[in-house]
């Protein structure tokens, strides 16, 4: 699979997840790796990049179980980026599906 493609897909998954609620790192890794088989450790570099690019911010919040956890929250830029990437993704999937149907029905 193309490098850019993989990177974009995972970025989209993280952004989409964060539009619904703020999450801590383990939660993000856990939810995504349930569906997509990844090296879990690579989500953290991705989160760092999203933070450096201004798509997410972080804050610490106490948890009942122990020390505070680092939560990730989407910024306005992040929300826009999520919409843009979702649109691109759905258009891409639709085109591939159309293409496959066309080829297979010949």
């Amino acid at each position: 699979m193309n490098i850019q493609f993989k990177k974009g897909v995972l970025e989209l998954c993280v952004l989409a997840l964060l539009t619904h609620k703020n999450c801590y790192g383990y939660e993000i890794v856990n939810l995504i790796s349930k569906k997509i088989s990844i090296s879990e450790g690579t989500i953290y570099p991705l989160l760092r990049r999203l933070k450096n690019d201004g798509y997410v911010t972080t804050y610490l919040q106490e948890s009942q179980e122990g020390p505070p956890r680092k939560y990730y929250q989407l910024t306005e830029d992040g929300k826009n980026m999520n919409e843009q990437l979702s649109d691109e993704w759905y258009a891409f999937v639709k085109n591939v599906n159309d293409f496959l149907e066309g080829v297979n029905n010949e």
Partner: protein, 200 residues
């Protein structure tokens, strides 16, 4: 591999990063282990799922260096970022490093050529101004200069040569800047490689 071995390997490979940045990276993984164990998973299980710490660290380091190269304009920084990316194994050594070095040397030699054109212009200007003076004052200069044009004409030609050289210098500067930005863009595009093994 347990938690201690994982974080030690991470710390070792991340050497060279500012302390604050390094501690921040490590705290993310420590939090991951802590919550994962509360979740009932073992250290070994968590470490295996995280993947190779050396690879993760190299990726973090490379994207840090690219970010640094982006915020300052310095050839040294961009070279560091290129080398870090090569060490990631993202690119074949020959595929990225040689074209990069060749492009840098072409741009550098263009710079040298442009600078010598400017110097030549200054030299001819200097000698044309001196040429109306008596032979004895000119000394050997007139021999080097000696194209036999009218001094006023050769002064204009010299100014033309200087202007041409300066234009060449400016063009090279813009090329260099464009090349710099392109390199950073290319590195950024490739660095955040994610190890997706397949979709389940």
């Amino acid at each position: 591999m347990n938690k201690k071995e994982f974080t030690q390997m991470l710390r070792e490979t991340l050497k060279g990063l500012p302390k604050e940045e390094l501690e921040d990276v490590l705290s993310d993984y420590e939090e991951h282990f802590r919550i994962g164990m509360e979740d009932g998973r073992s250290e070994e299980e968590l470490a295996a799922a995280l993947g190779n710490p050396e690879k993760i660290a190299k990726q973090i380091k490379a994207s840090y260096l690219v970010r640094m190269a982006e915020s300052t304009i310095s050839t040294g920084d961009v070279l560091k970022a290129v080398l870090a990316s090569v060490s990631l194994g993202l690119f074949n050594f020959m595929v990225i490093l040689w074209p990069f070095l060749i492009a840098v040397s072409i741009l550098f030699s263009m710079f040298v050529v442009a600078a010598s054109v400017v110097m030549t212009g200054i030299w001819t200007l200097f000698t044309s101004i001196l040429s109306p003076l008596p032979q004895s004052l000119q000394g050997e200069m007139v021999l080097i200069y000696g194209i036999g044009l009218h001094p006023v004409a050769s002064i204009f030609i010299s100014i033309g040569i200087i202007a041409f050289g300066l234009l060449f210098l400016i063009a090279d500067w813009y090329l260099l800047k464009a090349f710099y930005n392109l390199t950073i863009k290319y590195l950024k595009m490739n660095i955040d490689i994610i190890g997706i093994k397949g979709v389940s």
